[in-house]
Symmetry: C2
Subunit: 355 residues, 2 copies
DNA sequence: GTTAGCACTCTCACCAGTTGAGTGCCAACC
DNA sequence: GGTTGGCACTCAACTGGTGAGAGTGCTAAC
C-alpha cells in the first residue's frame, strides 16, 4: 500500500519549509493541501510544479500522504513527528494570555484540588482541544492526620489526611464488644496520631505491632490502624488516581470526526482511563514534556488523536500531569507552548505548598 | 404542519393495545412500524386495514406520527407521555438482577461516596442508557468535626466533616503574628469543635460571636470559624453538588444518533450540568419518580432525550437523585422499574447510616 | 364496523455521466 | 541540474434518472 520509505534523514531547508507549510495549512483548514495553494498562500518563490516534486519527495520519505490521486497532501503521523522533533519551536503563550491564566488561578480557592481542575479547563479553552490533568500524587504517601468520628452506635467514620493534602475516608463498623462512644474514638485516634503521623504505609504497619490486644482502646486502634495501612498501600499502588478532563466537545467538533463512528471512537478514547493512566505514568517518570501522535498510541481508538503531556510537581515528592488531547491534526506548537506554561505555573503553585 | 389534534381523552382498549404495540416495536427496532408488521407480530385479531384506521386515529390524537407518507408510524413525545401515564405498568426488575445488584453494592467500600457512583454505573449497565446519580445532600448541613493541620509556617489545612459524611477541605493562610504551630492549631480546633459541632451555618455564626479578639488562639479560631461558616453556607446554597454519570456511550450508540451533529447535541446535553441540576432539584422536591420526555425539556439539545429520575434518602435530612438518561425511544417500563429498585436500595443504605 | 383491493407517495439504492481539483510526467528552458 | 509550463490522467463528489419496495389512504363490498 504505502510506497517504499527512505529513512528520514536530515531534510534540506526548502523541504522543511514546505513540510511546515503543508502542516500549518492543513492544521487550520482540515482539507488536503495542493501544490497550487502552497505557492499562492506561502511566498515560496517557486512554481507549483517544483513544489509538486518536493511534495512527492516528502511523500517518498513517509512524511506526507494523499488520500487519493486527485487530492492534495496531508501529513502522516511520521510527518507530524518529524515536525515536532526537528522543525517546530514551541510558541510561548502570549503574555496577555499568561496574565489572564495567572489571574484565574489567583481567583480560585487556594487548594491543589481546585488547581488541577482549573488547569484542565484552562488548557481546553486556550488550545481548543481537550484539557487533561491529574492531581499531584506522591511516590510514598505519608500520613499526616487521623480522625475518628462516631456516626451511630455501631459505625464510625475514619478520616485520613495524607501529607500532600489528599483525604481518604472510610466507614469503620465496630465489632462485638468494641468501644463505641466518641471519647473512646478520640483516645484511639490520639494513639494512632502519635504513632503513625509522618509514617509511610510500611513503617506505619511496623509501628502498629506494639499495640496491645488486651486493652479495649488499643485493640480498636490496632484494628483501625490496619485499615489505614491498607488504604495507604492501595493509594500507593494506584499509579494515577484520577484523570480530570474538560472540553471534550472541542475535540468532537473537529471535522475529521464528522462520521459518527469516528466520533464515538474518540469519545471512548477519552474515556479510556487505563491507557491515559499508563501514559501519564510514563510522562511522570520521564520528567519532561512528551508528545504522542496518532498511531504511536497502541489502543485502536486512540490512533486518531494526539496527546501533549507534561509533568508538574516536585520529583520524589509529588508528581502530577497536565496536558491536552486533540486530533492528530492539531497545532503542536501552540499546544506545546501552552502545556509548558501551565505545567510551569503548577510547579510554582506546588512549590508554594512545600516551601 | 401537524394535523389538528383532538384533546387526548380516554382511549378504548384496542387503541391502547395498538399504541402499546407500536411503542414496544419501535423501542426495540428503531424503525417506523407499519400496520402489517403489527398484525403479524402482535396477535391483534384484525386485518392491517383496520389497524391502519386506528393508527390514523391515534395520529389525529397526536400520539403517533409518520416521517413521510410511505413510512410506518413512530410515537410522538405525547404518545410516550400517554403511554407512561396511562398504559405502562412499571416492570419490576427481575429477581436475579436485583440479587446481582445487591451483591455488587455489598462488595464495595461501605461509604456513600462509592454508592452513588455505583448506582449510576448499575443503572447504565442494566438499562443500556446513561446512568445518573448525585450524592445525598442535606437541606441544612450540620458540622460534625473540624480539624486543623499545619502544612508549613504560614499555611494550615482545614478539614471540615459534615454530618451526612461529606468532607470539605480548605487552605488557611495565616496572617501577621497569628499562631502557627500544630499545638496552637489543635487548641483552636478544640475550641471550634466544642462550639460548632452539630450546628448549622447560621447557628455556628452566632456561636462565634462570643470568641474574644484579644486572645491569640481565640482570634485564630474566630477567623477559621468564619471561613467554616462561609464554606457551609456555600454548600447549603448549591442545590446539587455533583451529577455523576456513567455509560454515556450506551446512549451514543443508539441509531437515532447516527448523524454526528445529533450525537454532539446529545453529548452536550449530557454535559449540560445546569439543566440536569435543575431537574434533579425539582425531583428531589417532588419526592417521587419522574419522567421527562423529549420536548418536555426546555434546552434544545435535550429534546432528543428522555430522563427517568427518582429521589432517594431521607426527606428533611439528606436527599439525592438517581436516574437514567436515554433516547426518547427508550424502554420506559424497564427504566422506571430499574430506577425504582435502585432508588429503593439507596434508601436502605442511607437508612443504615442514619439508624 | 371490518375487510380486500388498488392507486398513490415517497424513500432508498443503484447507475451513468459530468465536473473539477490535483497529480505525475515530459520536453523545454535557464 | 534544477525549474518550469503544458498536458494527459485519475478519482472523489455531485447530479439526475430509474426501479423496487414499503406503507399509506381510499373505496366498495361484506
Amino acid at each position: 500500500m504505502a510506497r517504499r520509505r527512505r529513512p528520514v534523514g536530515p531534510l534540506d531547508l526548502r523541504s522543511q519549509a514546505i513540510l511546515r507549510a503543508v502542516i500549518e495549512e492543513y492544521v487550520t483548514s482540515a482539507i488536503p493541501v495542493g501544490s497550487q495553494a502552497l505557492v499562492e498562500r506561502y511566498g515560496l518563490g517557486v512554481s507549483s510544479a517544483t513544489v509538486r516534486s518536493i511534495l512527492a519527495e516528502l511523500e517518498m520519505n513517509g512524511l506526507l500522504t494523499h488520500p487519493h490521486t486527485s487530492a492534495g497532501r496531508i501529513p502522516t503521523d511520521a510527518g507530524y513527528r518529524f515536525f515536532v522533533e526537528s522543525i517546530v519551536e514551541a510558541v510561548p503563550l502570549p503574555a496577555i494570555e499568561q496574565l489572564m491564566i495567572r489571574h484565574q488561578f489567583g481567583q480560585v480557592e487556594f487548594a491543589s484540588e481546585h488547581w488541577f481542575r482549573l488547569a484542565a479547563t484552562t488548557l481546553a479553552s486556550v488550545t481548543r482541544a481537550a484539557g487533561l490533568a491529574t492531581p499531584a500524587k506522591p511516590r510514598d504517601a505519608h500520613i499526616r492526620r487521623i480522625d475518628l468520628v462516631a456516626i451511630n452506635e455501631r459505625m464510625a467514620s475514619l478520616i485520613l489526611v495524607l501529607r500532600e493534602g489528599s483525604i481518604k475516608q472510610a466507614l469503620i463498623t465496630l465489632e462485638g464488644d468494641e468501644a463505641i462512644d466518641q471519647p473512646t474514638l478520640n483516645k484511639a485516634a490520639a494513639i494512632l496520631n502519635t504513632r503513625l503521623v509522618d509514617q509511610t504505609a510500611q513503617r506505619a504497619a511496623a509501628r502498629l505491632a506494639t499495640l496491645r490486644d488486651d486493652d479495649r482502646v488499643e485493640a480498636l486502634a490496632r484494628r483501625v490502624g490496619a485499615r489505614i495501612v491498607r488504604i495507604v498501600q492501595e493509594y500507593d499502588a494506584t499509579a494515577i488516581e484520577e484523570v480530570f478532563s474538560d472540553g471534550l466537545l472541542n475535540v468532537m467538533e473537529a471535522p475529521e470526526f464528522a462520521q459518527s463512528d469516528k466520533l464515538r471512537r474518540v469519545f471512548s478514547a477519552l474515556e479510556n482511563r487505563s491507557y491515559l493512566g499508563e501514559l501519564v505514568g510514563s510522562v511522570a517518570g520521564a520528567g519532561r514534556i512528551q508528545v504522542f501522535i496518532g498511531h504511536e498510541n497502541q489502543p485502536l481508538e486512540m490512533q486518531d488523536v494526539s496527546l501533549v503531556l507534561a509533568p508538574y510537581g516536585r520529583p520524589g515528592r509529588a508528581i502530577g500531569v497536565v496536558g491536552v488531547l486533540g486530533p492528530t491534526r492539531m497545532s503542536y506548537s501552540q499546544a506545546i507552548g501552552t502545556v509548558r506554561f501551565v505545567s510551569g505555573l503548577m510547579n510554582e503553585l506546588v512549590d508554594h505548598l512545600y516551601a
